[in-house]
């Protein structure tokens, strides 16, 4: 089903997370990352902040998307400052764009997320391209 372009510009609920040392060590162990002595947040962990929302995919369901047919198309991080365990980080996502290809066989949704500290200092800007494939494909 086509994603309604009206969702462009929608601000999604922001999520605030205190970066927990144990969680960082768990994440690092699973991916084989050697955690630094100052407990820096690994480069891709910032993607996980908004997933701490109790129902992080609700906005997709609300847009009529079946999660079983969702693929992650692209992901980017632009870093402004290094985050560490103990930091309180807030992720603020918004829907930046949606478009389709292949006569609607593939729908694309672009989500942009700003990650910052409580004092307003910027940690990183994330961009996510989500692909929704048609069940018939």
């Amino acid at each position: 089903m086509a994603v309604d372009p009206a969702i462009i510009g929608t601000e999604l609920p922001s999520t605030t997370m205190t970066v927990d040392e144990g969680r960082l060590r768990f994440f690092s162990t699973v991916i084989g990352h050697e955690i630094s002595a100052d407990l820096a947040v690994p480069p891709t962990f910032l993607f996980s902040i908004e997933l701490e929302n109790p129902n992080p995919f609700a906005w997709l369901a609300n847009a009529g998307v079946d999660m079983r047919f969702v693929l992650h198309g692209e992901q980017s991080f632009t870093y402004h400052s290094l985050a560490h365990a103990g930091d309180v980080l807030t992720a603020k996502p918004r829907i930046a764009d949606t478009y389709s290809k292949g006569g609607g066989a593939l729908e694309f949704i672009v989500k942009e997320t700003a990650v910052s500290r409580a004092d307003g200092s910027s940690v990183a800007d994330l961009s996510t391209v989500i692909i929704v494939r048609s069940p018939a494909q």
Binding site: F26, I31, A40, F47, S76
Partner: protein, 133 residues
């Protein structure tokens, strides 16, 4: 960690070979990353979506590829990092992460990155910019 090797266009990063991705790794990564989409951990759900099996989170491969960078330079030097997920990584896939400096300009090195499976399938392509002084 600081880089002592010369960084110039053409410099290849040491490849990072990952052992085959197990179902256990997918379950643990779901928990550690907070991405609980069942299509990565529940065979019944994957089959109901017409797939033969679960498949790895794209962000797991991006995390492995990120290690190629953090093994090479101290993390605060990484200015940007982005990828396209071009193929699904199946269970038992054996990713190898590679990177090469393509240009050095104004104190920033631009790298081309890729993740390739043992059968030659490219699963991720991407790039990163890294401050070098």
């Amino acid at each position: 960690m600081t880089t002592t090797v010369a960084i110039e266009a053409g410099t290849e990063l040491p490849p990072l070979r990952i052992k085959p991705i197990s179902r256990t790794t997918l379950a643990l990564f779901a928990a550690a990353s907070g991405d609980h989409n069942p299509v990565h951990i529940d065979l019944d759900v994957a089959r109901s979506a017409g797939l033969d099996d679960v498949f790895a989170h794209g962000m797991l491969s991006m995390a492995y590829l990120g290690r190629l960078l953090t093994d090479w330079v101290s993390q605060e030097r990484i200015r940007s990092y982005r990828v396209r997920f071009v193929s699904i990584t199946p269970v038992h896939g054996e990713p190898t992460c590679t990177g090469r400096v393509v240009s050095v300009e104004d104190g920033l090195a631009t790298l081309e990155l890729a993740v390739t499976l043992a059968d030659g399938t490219v699963t991720l392509t991407g790039d990163a910019t890294v401050a070098i002084n």
